[in-house]
């Protein structure tokens, strides 16, 4: 009972953390305390009723920029997961159904891609495409697709080895039908957990790229850019560095907790053990 309660607590905590960030992003779509480019706030003003989180070096309202940063983080995480998920599932299923030599070749390519550092791969894509949020999302999504593809391939192969698949093929079921009716329903819980973890990793990767000046171009307030800009003023205005750091941790930890919770929900063996 206790372990089940712990896992429920993790799921709830994850939902709260992620829900909070989503709520901030949604609110920022409808309402922002100030125009994000308004520099009338005064340089590095401390938190006050007028500016709840203070202002940055150029006099812009920090709360507004943090709220807009939530949008960028979610777009980066969501976009990367969509690209990485779709590409990874297609590649993974392709490898699972492929002939042996093609499967071996695809597996080798995926292993190389996984071994390649994500940030380095992202920098190569950005060098070719130019620094932008789109380039960063594309690069992170490509790197993520290899991880998803390998997982999908293993899971799909495991399902394909089952007797009922042989029975389905004997009874004339087509490959699309087998994928739709047997493989995807069996593998989705594990893939979903993996994508949730990858979401957090993608948010961190985008923040890292923005910190290096390779993410969303200025004046877009990615949390990574905010951290970089606050670096020079960390002694006089520490909130500029602390606030985006906390939000980043909240989203990444929240997604990991959510992944844990989803795993327990989708995994019957975990439920039995509890």
């Amino acid at each position: 009972m206790t372990r089940r309660r712990d896992r429920s607590a993790a799921l709830i905590a994850g939902l709260i953390c992620v829900g909070l960030i989503i709520a901030i992003a949604l609110v920022s779509l409808l309402y922002q305390p100030y125009d994000p480019s308004d520099t009338s706030g005064g340089r590095l003003v401390a938190p006050s009723l007028a500016h709840w989180a203070g202002t940055d070096q150029l006099g812009r309202d920090l709360l507004t920029r943090l709220m807009m940063g939530a949008q960028i983080a979610l777009v980066a995480g969501g976009g990367s997961v969509v690209i990485g998920g779709v590409l990874g599932i297609v590649l993974g299923l392709g490898a699972a159904f492929a002939t042996r030599w093609l499967d071996d070749t695809l597996s080798a390519v995926l292993d190389i891609l996984i071994a390649f550092p994500t940030l380095l791969l992202a920098m190569l894509v950005i060098a070719a495409q130019g620094a932008s949020l789109g380039s960063a999302v594309l690069a992170i999504g490509l790197a993520m697709s290899a991880i998803v593809a390998r997982l999908v391939r293993i899971l799909a192969k495991r399902v394909l080895a089952q007797d009922y698949i042989t029975a389905a093929r004997t009874s004339g079921s087509s490959w699309p039908s087998i994928i739709g009716h047997h493989i995807l329903p069996n593998i989705w819980p594990t893939v979903l957990v993996s994508l949730a973890i990858q979401f957090g990793a993608a948010v961190l990767a985008e923040a890292s790229l923005s910190y290096l000046g390779l993410g969303a171009p200025p004046p877009n307030p990615s949390w990574g850019s905010l951290l970089q800009q606050a670096q020079a003023t960390v002694y006089t205005a520490p909130l500029g560095a602390i606030a985006p750091g906390i939000l980043l941790v909240l989203l990444v930890v929240g997604m990991n907790l959510l992944a844990d919770g989803l795993r327990d929900v989708g995994d019957p063996t975990q439920r039995r053990r509890a």
Partner: protein, 500 residues
Amino acid sequence: MKSPRTALAALAVGIVAVLALSSCASGPATGTNSADATINVGSVYEPQNLDNTGGGGQGVTEALNGNVYEGLFRLSDSGDVTPLLAREYSVSPDGLTYTVTLQNNVTFHSGATLTSADVKSSIERVTAADSQSSRKSSLAVIAGIETPDANTVVVTLATKSISFVYNLSYVWIVNALATDLKTTEDGTGPYELGTWKRGSSLSLTRFDSYWGTAAKNKDVVFNYYTDATALNNALLTNAIDVITSSQSPDALAQFADNPDFVINDGNSTTKLLLAFNDKQAPFDNVAVRQAVTEAIDNKKLLNSIWGDYGTLTGSMVPPTDPWYEDLTSVHPYDQVTAKQKLADAGFPDGFTFTLDTPNYDPHPAAAEFIKSELAQVGITVNINVITPDEWYTKVYKNHDFAATLQEHVNDRDVVFYGNPDFYWGYDNAKVSALIKEAEQSDTTDQQTAKLTAANDIIVADAASDWLYLYPQIVVASTSISGYPLNGLNSQFYVYDIVKS
């Protein structure tokens, strides 16, 4: 058998003795005003290479100028030009012939003796077609160089040049036989190059056969940092002794009330420019440039970046130049007037342009500020962040830009506006003529009058927007003295630094 207490006491005495001995052993290494001291300098300006005619950047001037390489003349920290490798010189009555006699017994670090042939080849390196020296066009006035003997150089000019001696202070005298000057050196300065660990440090070692007064320290290590926080932490932890140029006013709070450090606010010649491509629409229109200039609150920008430090000049000319005048009132911050000027120029709804922005501080922050300001008068700015190499190729070399941000470190560089082929493409025949006439002046007063008049026109035309003049903040440990306080041309002479 000894008791445990005796053994403990013996151990304690032993530890104290070892500590005492070790402290004695480390004493001479730091010494008092030791001529053998090592000075650790902290900077964010690592050279791109070691050649000041090959795009070495301001880092190469900071580390090597006056320390490893010397000129015929030397620009002092206070802005005076005095003979250095030139023992004496004379000018013909028509002002066209300069005869320079070299110092005796000067040797290069390789051991070769300095001759007039080295001087001739060094000047020709600066004026060569592939030279990237900022004074290349200024020295194009040279018609010929002769070397009648090993110790005499005769330079003939096509026209008179009152700044010729000053311009020669930019010319490093290099051994004519030296090769690969981008990674090695062969100068005559008080230091020779030790090791250059790219991305980390560049060390200089006192040259024992130096012809002049020996350096007051033995070794100097320029330590390079990519961000201001790491640089400040290095000084706080005594990893370095001095910061050549502090990059952030906020970091100074750490040193302000600390008796172990001193903050020096010197004179700078470094300007931050919003440089327009004056040959390309819409910035070929004077009214548009004026409107953009008046739409940006430079005072607020300076305060945002530098707090209470820095200066507004309203022009390219810093207060250390003889032809300085405060021109901040020519285009005062006034967005209503700016909007009207835009409408009169045919842009009532504004326009869109790309601002090429170097990727290092303070350019990105300045670009964001400018974008915000210009949005208020209907102008949309697309910020394009580029590397210094990209800037050099795209902007400086190919002139492929609409507007750009860039810092210009040199003093007396308003003359660049007299060159229509310079990257910003400002072409005003009257200004070019005035600058040319100033150069051919007989007296400094005449030169000052001409350049003041030229500068007035340049500012009226808003050839660029001179956003602000950087402060020159040197932060140092109180254990050292004798370091330069001013940032003229970003040079940093280290030979007089003494560590106590």
